[in-house]
Structure formats: structure tokens, C-alpha cells
Symmetry: C2
Amino acid sequence: MNKKVSLKDIAKAVGVSTALVSYVLNNKEKEARVGKQIAEVIRKKAAELNYQPNQIAKSLKSGKSFTIGLIVADISNPFFANIARTIEDEAKKNNYTVIFGSSDENAEKSQDLMDVLIKRQVDGFIIAPTEHTEAQINYLNASNIPFVLIDRYFPEIKTNYVITDNFKAAYQATSHLINNGYKRIAMIAYKSNLIHMQERIKGYTMAIKDHKVKSVKPLLFEVAYDHAELEIQKQIESLINGGQTIDALFFATNTLSIYGLKFLNNKRLKIPDDVAIVCFDEGDAFDFFYCPLTYVKQPLIEVARQAVKILVNQISHPKQDETQVLLDSDLIIRESSRKTK
Amino acid sequence: MNKKVSLKDIAKAVGVSTALVSYVLNNKEKEARVGKQIAEVIRKKAAELNYQPNQIAKSLKSGKSFTIGLIVADISNPFFANIARTIEDEAKKNNYTVIFGSSDENAEKSQDLMDVLIKRQVDGFIIAPTEHTEAQINYLNASNIPFVLIDRYFPEIKTNYVITDNFKAAYQATSHLINNGYKRIAMIAYKSNLIHMQERIKGYTMAIKDHKVKSVKPLLFEVAYDHAELEIQKQIESLINGGQTIDALFFATNTLSIYGLKFLNNKRLKIPDDVAIVCFDEGDAFDFFYCPLTYVKQPLIEVARQAVKILVNQISHPKQDETQVLLDSDLIIRESSRKTK
DNA sequence: ATATAATGTTTAAACGATTAAGTTAAAATT
DNA sequence: AATTTTAACTTAATCGTTTAAACATTATAT
């Protein structure tokens, strides 16, 4: 690579010290009382050489990298990809750049990522934390490294977070099914102690308990993240074969929905006649599944916006109290959960 | 933020010079003939203080940031999100971190992104270049900054690139429709001079010309990136109302497919009976549209892998010749383009 | 005329790490 | 005993920037 143009090169070309060049290019002419003519000459030379300040050197000096570390489960998951995009845009507005990494819901990978990003001196983190990463979060707290959790959080740890009301959303979704006449409503969720999943499960369970329709009992199936597709197939298969008839299915995430719906298609089950469906999260697919799908629409953009806002604020005012934001989701009702006759 | 632990801190705590600490922690004890005992002490202290080397300082010294800049049109587009994920994984294997940015197919944003990333001293770029960014690419070439183009490239500029054979894929897709008996095949593409789009259009046009079925004429509709959804609706609307009957539609990208299919659904057009469909790229949706969709499956993972491989190689051996990779796509044939009776 | 102030510029230290070169003391060789 | 070698460590320069402090001039005030 060609040697890049540095302050020194400009200084030499113009015949002044690097200090002067620095002052001028940082618009500190007044404070530093730089001469008008020479400032112009410096500016011209900088433009002529297409000088691009070395952000790394700046960061070293200032102790600020203007970088945000983003850790999500999987950047290729549309849910996180969408959040990432908004975070990118909002970060840019504040002159921050985003470095991202996918944890795959794996605590060890999450730790590795955190280390890499800390070494790179990110000014703060936005994290969708994985199970068993409490220690990592505690470490950030202890080190006073600013961070904001999204999507999930740890109730026992005091942190910033921006999440949606998962209990409420799941309760609402389940109630909607019940009110529409469905009696055997199953839920497919991830096997996870993470709060967002637990809250969704609680919302589902509570809704079923609250509506004192005798025939409606919770039917919860939990699948492992790493073999979700296979386990879903098995669960649904056994549901069908086992004579355990269900009339509605509530999927706890977009990925689960996709796996499940694919398999239901395979099995020639018709929605909503054979089984009604409600999904969590969006997917382009949901709009034009043969039967438009009812789903919980989380305010992704708002989550991302608030997270960046809180983080940037925290970075510039470190002594702030923790900010916790709970956002509401919308239940988008469509054909897949229509009233039984 | 708590002051971070530096080499100096360890040196002071142990009572040696920073040089010694650096040698030990970089496993250069032999070359530097560091004492066995003291090396142990240093290592222990480093672990005890949870020392994380400051990558920024390293980068400044070494002139290498071990960072790859990734510029795509939109990270929230599944096509790019998937590529991004593979790039992330492959980069990590080579100790690189990825900084990303979305250009929104806008040359100015692309330029801004490039500047930001250059200031951050990325060691190289992976770019899905936007229209009118020839100057930016030329600049990279002139500055000897390593980079690899993906998805698109500029035929008149000598660069590394990894792309798929868009002409072939489109030709194949169109021929498939013709062979299955469709006679009025329209294509919806982006209004763009970018090679990937032009090749897809050429493939379509050529296939139609080659198959000397008189009744088959090219019917090409080009929509602007910024108002794609609306324009597609208008185009399809006018196709329907204008009495210009079509019996098949070929969408040039996943996003176009989604917009188009949504609208076809709205208009109650049945696939494939009213109109057959072939799409470019994947989407979860394509698996379980009421009528499983025929689509061109690009080897995304391979594109990303090769791109990282070429880039990393180029970074370490700058004088290399340009590498150009052309990959084949698969046409996944399903119900949406089945034979007419 | 001389002290003081204002103006314009340079010097040098610092950020945290690396590393060639220098120093010192002990061990080996003559 | 004098010299050389080896081992174990330190010094100091460097990467590109920032910025307080120092240093010259020239202008203004007394």
C-alpha cells in the first residue's frame, strides 16, 4: 500500500510544524492563533494531498475510538440484521462506527467477541446477551465500560436495556387465539432461561390459565437452539401421530416460525383450517404465506434507536444512572388466526 | 471508564521495563532471552490484572489494523446479511474484524463510508459497488489499498472480484420458462447500469431471442431502487389493465420478488395458473409461498469465502495479480414455473 | 524607552505498544 | 587475570496525533 499522507507530510510540504497543521485542520485556529494566510496554505495542501486523518492515532491519543461493538446472536437473522441496520444509521449520525459479531447464542463465542472488541477499544457495547453470560455483563459493569442490552436482559443485574414487553405480547397473542375460539393451543419456544423467552412462555401460560376455558391447557414445546429445525419437526410429527390434536400453534420467534411452517407445509396441514398460527417477529414471508400470518410486530427500529441514544449518552456522561426501556409490540392480526366457525 | 491495564501497569507491578513485558506476552522470550522465572511472574501478573493489549496502539505501531471494511447496499437485506455473516466468520479465522456500512446504492454514501473506513485504517475492503463509484474504485487501485468486489464489478477496471455468472443464470431461468411452455415472459429488474443487473437482463433477452418461438418477445420493466415497490405495483397494474397479458414473470432480485409477489397476491393473481414465477436469490419466503417458488440460488457462502480469502492473501502479498472468480448459480425448480398443460 | 501584551509559531511530551540497540553482570574462554 | 561470550534486562525511538508550554516577534501601553 502507498504510504498514507500524514500531518508530517503536510507540515514538510508547507514548511511548518505538525502542530500548526493539526490546529488548522481541527479548526482550532482561533484558540491557537494561527495566521490566516498560512492556514489557507495548509488547508489547500491537505486537500491537494487528499489527507485523511489517521483515526487510530487519534484514538490512541484521545482514548476514544468512536466505535460501537455490536454483539447479536446471528447477524444473518433478519431480526438482528434489521436492528443492525438501524444501529448503523443512528451510530453514524453520532459519528460512531459499528463493529459487529455473532455469538450464535454461545457464551464462549460471546466472550471471545467481547475480548476482541475490548482490545479494539470500542467505546461501548450494544449486546443481545446470550445465556450464561452474566459474568461477562458483570465484568463490563465492574470495568465501567458503557453498554446497553437489547432484546434480553438479566433481571438480577442492574444494567441499561431496551426490550419489548414480551409477557404482554405473548399474553395478547395467546388471548387472541383463545378469543377466536381455539381450544388446544400449543407453543413452540427455545429451551432457554433468557428472560425474553421465559416472558413469552409466561405470557402464553398465563393467558391460558386466565381464560377459564377448561379444555384449554398449556402445551409447551421447547427446542434447543442448535438443533431447532430437527426438534421442531419431531415435536410436530409426534403431535400429529400421537393423536394429540392441536388447533393452534404459537411460535416464539421468526426462525422457529419458519422451521415450523415449512414442516407443516410438508405435512400438508392447512392453515388455519387444520391449525391456526401466530408468530413472533416479522419476516417478509409472513406477508405472503398462502394464508397471511398473524404476528407480533416488535418495534425494532425503536429498540435500535433508543439503544444507540442511551449508549452514546452514557459514553459522554459516564456517571449516569441506568436507563431501562420497555416498549410495546403490536399484534398484527391476519388470516392465520381467524375465528373458528 | 476505569483506566485500562497497560503494559506499563504490569511492568510497574512486577518491577521491570515494559519491553520485557512485551516480549513475554508476545512469546518472544527466546529471541529476547528473557529469564524463566521473571517470565512466569509477568505472565501471572498479566492474567491477574486481566490485561487486554490495546489493539489501537498495536495498529499504530504496526501499520496494520487487522480490520476489513465491508460495504454493501443494505445490511438488512438478507442477501447481504448472509454474505456478511460468512465474511465475519471467515475474517475471524484470519484474526480480522469486520466494520460494515450500507451504501443504499448511493454513490455519495459509498464515498462517505469509504472515507470513514480509510481513516480507520482498514487493511482492505470487500465491496458490493454501487453505480457511479468507478472513481472510488480507481482511487483504491491508485492508493494500492487491497480490495475485492463482490456481486458486481466494473468491466473496464482491473480489480479482484468474486461474482456469479448472472448472464448464465438468467439465461437458464428464462429458458426454463420457455421450455415449460410460457410464451409471454416479462422481467422486472432494477434500472441500473451495474453489470450484475445488465447481465441478468442480457441473459433474459438472449434466451428469448435464441428460442425462436415467435410469440415470445422480451418484455422488460425497469424500476428505480429508491421507489421500487411503488413502481412495481404500477408496472404490474398497467400490465394487467393494459390487456397486455403475460403468463410468466422473472424477478431480478429477492427484494423485487417480494414486492412483486405481495402485489400479485393483492390482485388475487394465482401462481402459477395466472402467472408463472422465477426469482433471483433466496428468501425464507420462497420455501413456503403457497406455491413453492422457482429461484436462482447464488452460492453466497462461496462468494463470501473466496472474497475473504483473496483479500487476506492480497493484504499479505500486495504485489499479487488480480484474482477474478466467476461462480455458477443453481436454478431451483419448483411449482411456480411448472409446465403449462 | 521600556515594560506589557498580543500574535504567530515551534517544541516536546503523551497515548500504548514494539523492537533495535545498548547496558550490565556473570560465566566461559584464553 | 584478562578477555570474550552469554544471558538478562533497560533505553529510547517510533507509529500519527494532540496540546500545553515555550519561544520569538511585533504591537501597544506606560
